[in-house]
């Protein structure tokens, strides 16, 4: 089966395909080993060239890669004994949000995340990771559980945005998002947000107002999708690549602005190429930040959190 590839990386994927075949041959016939070595070197060089310094748009593509680990993969890898919260106890169970309580290492945590599907069928039930109001209200419940049990609140974010639909508007999408933002900013426990893929606008910030925001290297976080931006600026969605440049939406941009606390590096070519490595790095990063946050008084945490969000962008004429 042909693996998924973007245009700019077709050559690499092709060579890797060849490498796999040659490797098979080499296992039977040692004379192929030289070819293996050569192919490996070629691929390594090509990867450095193609993947070494991705454009913002290429990072957006990585963040959307169909094989990229999804939020529930992170939760499965990092959280033990996960007890799910199913719905908002008001209206519905939104599958675009995975939420519950579990153990991170030996430490109890409350967790919410926007979860995409891995195929079309899954994406239909998960709305491509776009939550409805009931999804955000499920997050409100889990925030209450975090306060109730005095355990840290962790979010994993990978969403193109909140779902723009009729039912979502009828049931107060904006109201739900605002409530989430407010509640998370005032939450009486330490909070940590990890943007693992797409950090799409209001749908992302709803559960990203944490003490510290971490981002994977190829994740993006933006006020508007590159396509939406291009559509407004030039009435042409195809100019998304240019829009991705001007929006300054990459992890390193956001880190340089002081908005993102830490960028977690990915394997060359995107973290779907080595999920276990990224799980390990994310685990280490979460552990470090939780360790640092957990020794602080909650009063200090709130003061620092509030000071941080109060001063964002305070540069005026």
């Amino acid at each position: 089966m042909r693996r998924f590839s973007y245009d700019f990386e077709t050559k690499i994927i092709d060579l890797e395909e060849k490498l796999r075949k040659v490797n098979q041959l080499a296992s039977q016939n040692p004379s192929f080993e030289r070819e293996v070595k050569e192919l490996e070197r070629k691929i390594e060089n090509l990867k450095k060239k193609v993947y070494g310094n991705p454009t913002p748009w290429q990072r957006v593509l990585f963040s959307r890669h169909p094989e990229r680990p999804k939020v529930r993969d992170f939760i499965n890898a990092l959280i033990n004994g996960f007890i799910p919260v199913q719905g908002d106890r008001l209206f519905a169970a939104d599958n675009a949000i995975v939420a519950g309580i579990g153990f991170f290492g030996g430490r109890e945590v409350a967790v919410c995340g926007t979860d995409k599907g891995k195929n079309t069928r899954e994406n239909l039930t998960k709305n491509f990771g776009m939550a409805h109001p009931e999804g955000y209200r499920k997050c409100l419940l889990v925030m209450e559980l975090a306060e109730r049990f005095k355990i840290p609140f962790l979010t994993f974010i990978d969403t193109p945005g909140a779902y723009p639909g009729i039912g979502a508007e009828e049931r107060g999408q904006a109201w739900a998002i605002a409530r989430c933002i407010e509640k998370m900013l005032w939450l009486q426990v330490p909070t940590l947000a990890i943007i693992t893929g797409e950090g799409g606008s209001g749908g992302a910030i709803a559960i990203a107002c944490a003490d510290r925001i971490l981002m994977l290297e190829n994740a993006y976080y933006s006020v508007i999708s590159p396509e939406g931006c291009a559509s407004i600026l030039w009435h042409d969605e195809k100019r998304a690549e240019e829009a991705a440049e001007v929006l300054k939406l990459t992890a390193s941009d956001l880190h340089s602005f002081g908005l993102v606390y830490e960028v977690i590096p990915e394997p060359l070519g995107g973290c779907h190429r080595d999920p276990n490595k990224i799980f390990k790095r994310v685990r280490e990063s979460i552990k470090k930040h939780l360790d640092e946050l957990m020794v602080k008084e909650i009063g200090t945490i709130l003061e620092e959190r509030h000071n941080f969000y109060r001063q964002i962008g305070n540069i005026f004429k």
């Binding site: 107060g172 933006s222 602005f257 005026f316």
Partner: protein, 273 residues
């Protein structure tokens, strides 16, 4: 908008054509009627200054933080225009420094802090300066123990300020949250046409009471985005003030002529305590 298209030349100084009901309105009546079409009740947009004049007691409004003006944090430019040029163009067009005016004034005698958006300045979009002015307005209301009235007219966050603009949702919600926790005065939002995106999904919808003007478009996502997503025509009246009122998301739909009275009643809560 109201225009004088298709109006007989001789008469064009006296008449306007309503873009909603397509009927002719006598110009003087239109302005006397606070820019509401007397025939179809369509509420035309007001500038921030017009809104202040209409809502606040004559001469009572004193602007605060008037000096704040945006800078280009991202180096945002397109081949056509830099953000700084966009800002200058909008400042010249509107005579405003930014997309909202904040200040202190009286509504039917009740003193309060006001936040008034101007849709004519970059679609009332919320960038860092708007966010900061909103935040300071809440702080002012808190420290002066005054109620707060926010009049919104906004397409949402300001794209040209990228992530900084998105973060104003957090900043303003933080302050709305602080006000609701630490003040016992009322916080009222008056949503006017349109109130969408990041402004609606932050401080605006966190108000104690939400009032809207008739017919105002209020929603998280824009109608065209939704239509594209759901691949269907939207129901009639979708995302109007009346639609949201029916669904219990806002508390009152009040015609422009009665707004001062209604708002003054709401912000009277706790004023004498």
């Amino acid at each position: 908008m109201v225009s004088n298209e298709n109006v007989n030349n001789q008469e064009e100084t006296k008449w306007l054509r309503c873009s909603n009901c397509r009927d002719l309105i006598y110009k003087r009546i239109f302005f006397e009627n606070q820019k509401v079409c007397p025939l179809c009740n369509f509420h035309y947009r007001l500038t921030a200054h017009e809104r202040i004049e209409l809502l606040f007691d004559k001469g009572s409004f004193v602007e605060i933080n008037a000096h704040l003006s945006s800078v280009d944090l991202l180096g945002f430019k397109t081949p056509e225009e830099t953000y700084e040029e966009t800002l200058r163009r909008n400042q010249e067009k509107t005579g405003l420094k930014e997309a909202c005016i904040t200040g202190r004034g009286k509504i039917k005698g009740v003193e309060c802090i006001g936040i008034v958006f101007d849709f004519f300045f970059m679609g009332g979009s919320m960038g860092t300066v708007v966010g900061e002015k909103v935040a300071r307005a809440f702080e002012e209301a808190l420290s002066k123990e005054l109620p707060l009235v926010a009049v919104t007219a906004s397409g949402g966050a300001r794209m040209q300020e990228g992530i900084f603009s998105l973060m104003q949702m957090a900043k303003t919600s933080l302050l709305a949250g602080r006000f609701k926790r630490e003040s016992q005065k009322a916080f009222v939002t008056l949503m006017t046409n349109p109130t969408t995106g990041g402004v609606l999904a932050s401080f605006a919808s966190l108000a104690d009471f939400i009032i809207a003007e008739p017919g105002a478009l209020i929603g998280f996502a824009g109608p065209r985005v939704i239509e594209k997503t759901v691949k269907a025509k939207l129901p009639k009246g979708f995302q109007t003030a009346e639609f949201l009122y029916e669904r219990g998301l806002i508390d009152m739909v009040i015609p422009r002529s009665k707004l001062s009275e209604s708002i003054s009643e709401v912000i009277s809560i706790g004023v004498n305590r």
